[in-house]
């Protein structure tokens, strides 16, 4: 009681304190925000400059002359059209494949009762712990054995499963009321039709999370494609971008690299803006990925 009267009696009231605190919070938020935005602003600004313009002092965030032709030049210089197509094929195939295998297996683990089910499920999710880098060399040997080096299936087929996604699907499907399924079964739906017509439509949020998460990861993937995709015509965008910097002999063409980097980033940024909610949910679930 004494505390309350004291606050009310002071010169600045609680309301003003709150406003000041909020103002301070916004200032901190904005300063931190600049640290996160500035590198990207710098990337876009330099993608419109010519080679002399990028070395000016003090740094210019708004180009004096806008060189839009950097984009067409960067695009043709490294055959980005083929790169875009390769990246799109790989991302689409991996996303669809993972949605299919993870939702089917998730349904099996969540709903169907059979001996050994929970043991397999445990084994399955414990494999999340194996970091991909451990598989790098033996998987490369395997790809050579399959004769898949420099083919797109080498970056698609080994990724058509996902222990993490399966786990997420299972956890989601367990919460769907069983009555819905039983009703469908009594109406004569088989297992597969029940899965397809009843379960999948109800699992949309989890499917969206898996889709956007897998899309971003696949689109950005670099390490494995670097090893198995040697020939230029199968290279995906990150590979082309990385090889860009070593290409021209004289001076690194930073203005063109920044232009190329900008259009590599655009598809993921769109995906992120559209599906931010689902992406963030994916990360919260992926906490399990660390092994738990």
């Amino acid at each position: 009681m004494a505390r309350a009267t004291k606050t009310q009696g002071s010169l600045i009231g609680q309301r003003q304190v709150k406003i000041l605190m909020d103002l301070f919070t916004y200032i901190v938020l904005a300063v931190v925000g600049i640290i996160f935005i500035m590198p990207f602003a710098w990337m876009v600004a330099n993608s419109f400059k010519d080679i002399r313009g990028i070395y000016t002092y003090p740094p210019e965030f708004i180009p004096e002359v806008w060189h839009f032709e950097n984009y067409t030049e960067a695009w043709t210089m490294t055959h980005f059209d083929a790169g875009f197509l390769n990246s799109a094929i790989v991302a689409a195939a991996v996303v669809l494949g993972q949605l299919f295998t993870a939702s089917l297996a998730g349904y099996s683990f969540a709903r169907l009762r059979y001996p050994g089910r929970d043991k397999i499920f445990l084994l399955y999710i414990s494999l999340m712990m194996v970091p991909f880098t451990v598989l790098l060399i033996p998987l490369y040997v395997q790809m050579r054995y399959f004769n898949w080096i420099s083919t797109l299936q080498a970056v698609i087929v080994p990724f058509l499963f996902t222990p993490w996604g399966t786990f997420m699907m299972r956890q989601f499907m367990v919460t769907i009321p069983r009555e819905l399924e039983d009703a469908a079964r009594i109406d004569g739906c088989g297992f597969f039709r029940t899965y397809w017509l009843i379960i999948l439509p109800l699992t949309k949020p989890a499917l969206a999370t898996l889709a956007i998460f897998t899309f971003v990861n696949t689109w950005n993937s670099f390490q494995w494609p670097l090893i198995v995709l040697g020939k230029p015509k199968v290279k995906t965008l990150p590979l082309l971008l990385a090889s860009f910097q070593n290409q021209s002999g004289m001076r690194t063409p930073w203005h063109l690299i920044m232009a190329a980097a900008t259009f590599v980033v655009i598809p993921v940024l769109i995906a992120f803006v559209v599906g931010q909610k689902y992406y963030v949910r994916g990360i919260v679930t992926s906490g399990i990925k660390g092994g738990g």
Binding site: P58, V134, I137, L139, F161, G291
Partner: protein, 378 residues
């Protein structure tokens, strides 16, 4: 609930023919379809994860090379010994005939190290080893000899990278999460901004920061120059062995801090508001609320965040490959970069696999630590 008779009636013909009639059919149906539906995932998992994983162990005990006319042989632990053997060796000073220590140019003269490490029959265990580091101890000099200087450098760099980045990134992510965990207008916009680098390809981020870290007219040097009115001289951030790894660490924190911020935010939201109200009634201030309500409630999240960062950090590769290729002077070599360099570029898959197995061992220990720390207490 479906009865056995109903299930039998609904089952497709081939299921009814395939399965024996005893035991309730709906159970057998479940088993069949259960396996069938899990099959695609299990098949790909077995072929592309379990088999390569086991192969990594098998190959690491051989001398297999990718293109070699000779068949592979078992070599036991030789690959691991070559990568990991470390010996301390004490050099005693040269003495003249009277037994006095020989000095030259103000320093003690020691016998040459290579006399011991090159075909010296008295020191077979030192054969082929090279100096990693050395220091003075009294009048003697202690030398650390290793078989593979570059790999040990890579291992140390990776461990340093992981142990610096884990508290730094985890701590900054927590600060950002606390900042964002308030009901203010536009807070979601800031969350999206802090998060944006996470979805951007590490190749793009690495290229962009290589540009920013440029030794002459990079943005960072220019900004430091302006802010210090020209008193800070330009630094070749990635070309200097002392700044290259810290520069990569700073960039990596910037890229991934949003990821862990989101995990912290999720953890913060599990703490019931009633606890804060109760603490407020007891007269707790902001710091006390954090210390006694927030932090205890975040314990498992903290372990999770630290472990996830550490495991991710152990896989350090893209930044090194795009920005420094392990240089300058091996200052940014990493374990995975070495595994790829040797297993793939030099086609020595046995050694590459041995490095993978060592990496797995480290990650396994880290993951088990997490399991231990977050176990259910009774």
């Amino acid at each position: 609930m479906l009865t056995a008779a109903e299930a039998r009636k609904n089952a497709p013909l081939w299921v009814r023919l395939l399965l024996p009639k005893d035991a309730p059919l709906y159970q057998r149906n479940d088993a069949l379809f259960g396996w069938l539906m899990a099959f695609p995932a299990l098949l790909i998992l077995t072929v592309f994860l379990v088999i390569p994983f086991l192969m990594a162990f098998v190959i690491s005990f051989t001398n297999q090379r990718l293109i070699s006319p000779n068949p592979a042989e078992w070599v036991g632990l030789r690959n691991f010994e070559r990568l990991l053997s470390v010996r301390a060796f004490t050099l005693e000073p040269e003495r003249d005939d009277s037994g006095a220590i020989v000095y030259q140019d103000g320093g003690i003269v020691y016998p040459r190290l290579r006399n011991f490490t090159r075909n010296n029959p008295n020191y077979p265990e030192l054969d082929g080893l090279r100096e990693f580091t050395s220091w003075q101890s009294g009048e003697n000099r202690t030398v650390i000899l290793v078989a593979d200087v570059v790999f040990l450098r890579a291992l140390i760099n990776t461990l340093v990278f992981a142990s610096v980045i884990a508290p730094m990134q985890g701590g900054l992510a927590l600060l950002l999460a606390l900042l964002l965990n308030q009901a203010l207008p536009f807070i979601n916009v800031f969350r999206a901004i802090y998060f944006a680098p996470v979805v951007v390809s590490m190749v793009v981020v690495s290229l962009l920061w290589r540009f920013i870290y440029d030794g002459n007219n990079g943005l960072l040097n220019n900004l430091l120059g302006i802010l210090s009115f020209g008193s800070i001289q330009p630094v070749d951030w990635l070309g200097n062995p002392f700044t290259a790894l810290p520069a990569i660490i700073a960039m990596s924190v910037w890229q991934a801090v949003g990821f862990h911020m989101v995990i912290w935010l999720a953890g913060l939201q599990t703490i019931p508001a009633s606890l804060y109200e109760a603490a407020g009634l007891d007269g707790a201030g902001g710091w006390q609320k954090f210390r006694f309500v927030t932090w205890p409630g975040l314990r498992n999240t903290a372990v999770l965040v630290l472990i996830v960062i550490t495991i991710q950090a152990m896989g350090l590769f893209v930044q090194v490959d795009v920005m420094t290729r392990g240089g300058p002077l091996d200052a940014t070599q990493s374990v995975v970069y070495q595994a790829v360099l040797r297993g793939y570029e030099k086609q020595d898959i046995a050694e590459g696999s041995a490095i993978s197995v060592i990496l797995f061992g480290i990650v396994f220990v880290i993951a088990m630590t997490q399991r231990y720390l977050t176990r259910e207490r009774r």
